[in-house]
């Protein structure tokens, strides 16, 4: 119990004093995970929707694979991205290893299948509802996808938030490809891992509470912006 109290105290102190390091780490966490979220959503929302409206030969296998990829172990993703970006790897010349960009790439790979899979589930239902009308109106595939994404945006928000939750709390991959370098690639989760390793539980817990508060804040902010649960079912 002492550790937890000390943690709360440490968190309180860090926040009240507006600790420069904490602010930097928090902003970097947000920057990395929100960038990953935007990129992953741009890829996953159309793909998930496309999967819901198209019938093709290996559709079931594709969806099963996608669902399996939701459980992709971050450490393995980190390892593979590391190998690709390392000096001797195929993309080594770009010098991306141990930069926030590398961390964003790893997180995009981790959360894209998750967002695409949840999108597919939500869009399937909406497509069943709209199917006859959109076929009858002779819409193109592009028009169908855009219509479904727009009208199903509330459900897609859930998909995006799930992706964000996985990204912001993820530590295995960004530790490997980012390297947890102070003032360069240190984020909340890697800092917590480091402080725990050093035995500074108070600071680690403090960072932990900041992380949870951050996740809550982003969720509330997005819900407030998109006004879910205010205009009824749609």
């Amino acid at each position: 119990m002492n550790d937890i109290w000390a943690g709360i105290q440490a968190a309180f102190e860090l926040i009240i004093t507006f600790d420069a390091d904490l602010v930097e780490i928090t902003l970097r966490s947000l920057q990395v995970s929100l960038s990953a979220l935007v990129i992953a959503s741009a890829i996953a929302l159309p793909i998930g929707t496309w999967l819901a409206i198209r019938r093709f030969r290996y559709r079931r296998a594709t969806i099963a694979t996608l669902n399996a990829l939701m459980g992709l172990p971050p450490v393995v993703v980190g390892l593979i991205v590391y190998l690709l970006l390392s000096r001797s790897g195929p993309f080594g010349v770009m010098g991306l290893l141990f930069t926030p960009t590398a961390m964003i790439i790893a997180q995009v790979i981790i959360i894209t299948p998750l967002i695409a899979s949840i999108t597919h589930q939500a869009m399937r239902e909406l497509w069943a509802e709209y199917h006859d009308l959109l076929i009858s109106l002779n819409t193109s595939n592009r028009q169908r996808i855009l219509t479904l994404i727009w009208d199903g945006r509330r459900a897609l928000l859930t998909a995006a938030l799930a992706g964000f939750g996985r990204a912001i709390g993820e530590v295995g991959a960004i530790m490997i490809v980012g390297g947890n370098i102070d003032h360069a690639t240190r984020v909340l989760t890697t800092a917590i891992a480091l402080e725990t390793g050093k035995g500074d539980f108070a600071l680690a817990l403090g960072l932990g509470f900041v992380l949870i508060a951050l996740a809550l804040l982003v969720n509330f902010a997005i819900h407030a912006l998109s006004r879910t649960e205010r205009e009824g079912r749609w």
Partner: protein, 232 residues
């Protein structure tokens, strides 16, 4: 534009659900498709509209297929509402054609008035009543000024007043030159609206003719029985 079906057949899992059927429909008129459940009325409408896969035979419109599809509209038995406002629902078919915004806004206001939803433009469409929904679906179908309008039992589950409003809209559209092909189970409605009748039975075309002849003296025993309210 007129259409002719030649030996059209629709099979699902080896079972014939329509045809083989030969049918000619002229460029004008108000055709009512009658027949008991499972006679293939909806399938026929979907074949004509081009959204049902045909297993055999040909559907031939007097214009090219793409042109024909653009000039058609379809109203479903249970109206499909986009999860948007009434205004957006009406605008949607026009948006797909990438029309000018001012033009879209004008036509939307006009049609909202015509279907009696002028005051409800900003209401969410899924929350309208059953009658309002069907009127909105009809308005959305007519807003493109289709040459051919298909309706699959548009007045099922509607009360007298809503049915009358829908029928008035249909007659207006017909007068304005839209060719209408509609299924119904309401014989009174068929008598009020039809200029000619297609009577379907067991997936085939059983009898076809002008409404004046069909309702007075149907040629086949089955059609007579159907009109008398017997179960065929």
């Amino acid at each position: 534009m007129s259409v002719s079906l030649l030996d059209v057949q629709v099979k699902r899992r080896g079972k014939a659900i329509l045809g083989p059927i030969n049918l000619d429909l002229g460029a004008t008129g108000f055709t009512i498709v009658l027949g008991p459940n499972g006679a293939g009325k909806t399938t026929l409408l979907k074949v004509l509209h081009g959204v049902e896969r045909v297993s055999g035979g040909t559907v031939h419109w007097s214009v090219s297929d793409t042109e024909a599809r653009q000039a058609q509209a379809y109203v479903f038995q249970s109206p499909i509402m986009l999860r948007r406002s009434v205004r957006e629902n009406l605008a949607y078919p026009l948006r797909l054609l990438k029309l000018d915004k001012a033009d879209i806004a004008m036509r939307v206001t006009d049609w909202a008035q015509r279907i009696g939803l002028g005051d409800a433009l900003d209401r969410p469409a899924p929350r309208l009543s059953g009658g309002e929904r069907q009127k909105l679906a009809l308005g959305r179908a007519l807003i493109r000024n289709p040459k051919v309008l298909f309706l699959d039992e548009p007045c099922a589950n509607l009360d007298g007043r809503s049915t009358r409003e829908i029928e008035a809209l249909l007659l207006d559209a017909h007068t304005a030159g839209t060719r209408i092909i509609m299924t119904t189970h309401d014989l009174g409605q068929a008598r009020r609206l039809a200029s000619d009748v297609v009577f379907m039975l067991n997936g085939g075309l059983h009898e076809q003719g002008p409404a004046s002849d069909f309702f007075v003296a149907a040629q086949t025993a089955e059609a007579q029985a159907f009109l008398n309210g017997d179960i065929v």
